[in-house]
Symmetry: C2
Subunit: 414 residues, 2 copies
């Protein structure tokens, strides 16, 4: 995928530095995005301010002639990763640590300083004497480079995430759509389990064993694996568990209780996340449970309706708060100390990170075409349980496109 | 679990600093280990040099009277994590960012500087004016604290990992054993698939479809999920794929080819990893495939035999190299540039990280009781394929205890 690093380059030029340096492994999404590469161990990506290759013979490593937005992007990798980097990463140049006498430097100065001196030599080979770095850049490397005479300053705005990664390309939108399709398949597995379970003494029972949060989670995750997705955590939270948005849930699912299911898988190959939530109730909802579901659904629909380019995330959040407050429930807007009612933001960006820019929150700035955000209002109270409904959408000029096709209803269907 | 932070405190006293500060999320294993807590967003852990609480009324948060080795350990968390931290983390004190006017500081200085000023106020509340930090500590926080007049120096030895986490407690050894049991169950699933597949035109076929690396990987990972484990990657690599130790493998598995299966799951609750590898061949091995398997097995047995407290990791690595070189294959010891033969180290520490200290490599120091290391020699050549055999062991005074019971043989069994 081609990328546009010009907002970063403008900031670098304004700051009068020679380049931007990332030192992280591929779990750092800025690193993965800028480098077009991922690896389990740390490697370094340099974006030179002037996007002309300084590297001589090693440019355009995979011979595609299509470096595009990654002209002036240079990688430093271990020998173990070199072959894969050359095959995968469409960047201006790829160097091995061995090209800068890594072994000798480590033998002389130890692993920490030896590595830093290798990075310094790599920077020197690109005529870079000053770098901006992300706030997360390791202090060991920053202080070490300073000792080698290189100026290191922190770029604290997070431009790569906020200005560059936030606007998704068509290709990225397709990847997120693909993950969200897998997500809906997994949600369907969970819904069917809940819909078809027996109810014995108020507890859901499936194949003669209690249907627990853990069992449903496992079946969700198996379906995700079969669809090429990995996952860290899944929420299947019943009753009071569901009233704490961070509680993953445990134990037997109960009839007549709200069950919040929040699934956020990541495609194993592309790294792009999906995110969706549904709330189900097996049995007979109380009047208050039903009312909270309906109010949440109206807040969700109103917030979705408000999403379009040029509107701020703060304004979309306000729309959701309006609906919930009008129905008589507290929000963090009406009472910043409330522990019940609507106690979180309306949404967040989703991409290579499950939580990224922009936010649909009191501090949310203007939405732009290509922004991908969740819309996920909810109402919580340990005495009643939790309700949350969440879709994932991409912002367009005149509205949004919803990645979800899944229906919104309280009673589960087989 | 109780921990012993005295090696860290000695180093802090030697460096004449007031404390040790970690700023990371729970995916940082040092953070998780020292704080007795894990969270998806960054939080801060302070270890004061003098292990007496400076925090007044908030000590012993969960009232157990059992702070033990975490006396003088203080957490700073968001309000969202505060309740869970108080329930889970047995530390000296737990503070909320709100206790230090976080919102006001962010409103006045923005999220980056506002957060740093909140951390500075937290340090001040513990009379800490100077801190050592790990090399991975974020430069944004380090430079920001320096602007607030706090001295920040990098502790580059990695004492928490090398001196403290490397020695596992009995409780940790039990957790690793539990993960390794799940690992063996998953290996058995893979072995049975390969043993019972049909062979058609030289390709393994199962239920009328080609048995691919991806299918076997999915079945391994489903078995791990059913046993409470998560996983990032699994290697099922056949033929030439298996000759690259970093290749995860893809496509149909072939008869008469070596198949390397390397599984490294992580228990979802405890975070402790397991790690094991077996190599199978369905069909008839060539003389050279058989020979390489036998040599690898002898290297593995000899290296295991050499493991005991007081022996260096380097010496164990040499034992494996001796066997492989004596059989006529290159190693990185005999030829540092070789791309075939034995092209990696003999082992690594395993715990909260899949790769941690100590190493069983040319730079491996003295093994100590409680060290948990993999023993995993191998022989590689794209023309023949790869062989690797790996068990996980804990070092004891007079030898080792092996976490594996799985047999070592080339032909898969149903």
């Amino acid at each position: 995928m081609d990328i546009d690093l010009s907002p970063l380059r403008s900031a670098l030029a304004d700051a009068s530095v020679d380049g931007y340096l990332i030192d992280a492994d591929g779990s750092d999404s800025d690193q993965r995005y800028v480098s077009d590469f991922t690896a389990p161990d740390p490697y370094q990506t340099l974006v030179t301010t002037a996007p002309t290759s300084q590297s001589g013979g090693s440019s355009d490593p995979n011979g595609s002639g299509e470096i595009g937005g990654r002209r002036g992007v240079h990688l430093l990798v271990s020998g173990l990763e070199y072959g894969r980097a050359r095959a995968d990463a469409t960047v201006d140049s790829i160097a091995r640590r061995a090209d800068f006498d890594y072994r000798d430097r480590v033998a002389e100065y130890g692993p920490q300083e030896g590595t830093v001196r290798t990075i310094a030599a790599f920077l020197e080979s690109h005529d870079v004497e000053s770098v901006a770095v992300p706030p997360s850049f390791p202090t060991g490397t920053a202080d070490g480079l300073r000792e080698q005479g290189i100026s290191v300053t922190v770029e604290s705005e997070g431009i790569v995430e906020t200005e560059i990664r936030a606007r998704k390309s068509e290709w990225e939108i397709e990847q997120i759509q693909s993950t969200q399709r897998a997500n809906e398949r997994a949600m369907a597995v969970a819904e069917e389990l809940i819909a078809t379970a027996d109810v014995e003494d108020g507890v859901l029972v499936y194949d003669d064993d209690p249907l627990t949060s853990e069992r449903v989670t496992t079946e969700i995750e198996i379906e995700l694996l079969r669809n090429g997705c990995a996952l860290d955590e899944t929420i299947v939270a019943c009753g009071a568990d569901g009233a704490d948005p961070h509680d993953r849930g445990s134990g037997a699912l109960e009839a007549d209780e709200l069950i919040v299911i929040d699934i956020f898988p990541r495609d194993k190959e592309t790294g792009y996340f999906g995110d969706m939530t549904r709330t189900f109730l097996r049995g007979v909802p109380s009047e208050e449970q039903r009312r909270r579901y309906d109010v949440t659904q109206r807040a969700y629909e109103a917030a979705l309706e408000a999403v379009e380019a040029g509107v701020t995330g703060a304004a979309v959040h306000d729309v959701a708060c309006d609906v919930i407050e009008d129905a008589g429930y507290e929000t963090l807007r009406s009472d910043p100390t409330t522990e019940t009612g609507y106690i979180h933001n309306t949404g967040h960006g989703v991409g290579l990170d499950i939580h990224e820019q922009p936010t649909v929150s009191p501090s949310g700035g203007e939405l732009e075409p290509g922004h991908v955000v969740s819309i996920e209002p909810g109402i919580y109270d340990p005495a009643v349980g939790g309700v949350r409904i969440e879709d994932l959408v991409v912002v367009t000029e005149d509205g949004h496109r919803n990645f979800n096709e899944y229906g919104v209803y309280l009673e589960p269907r087989a």
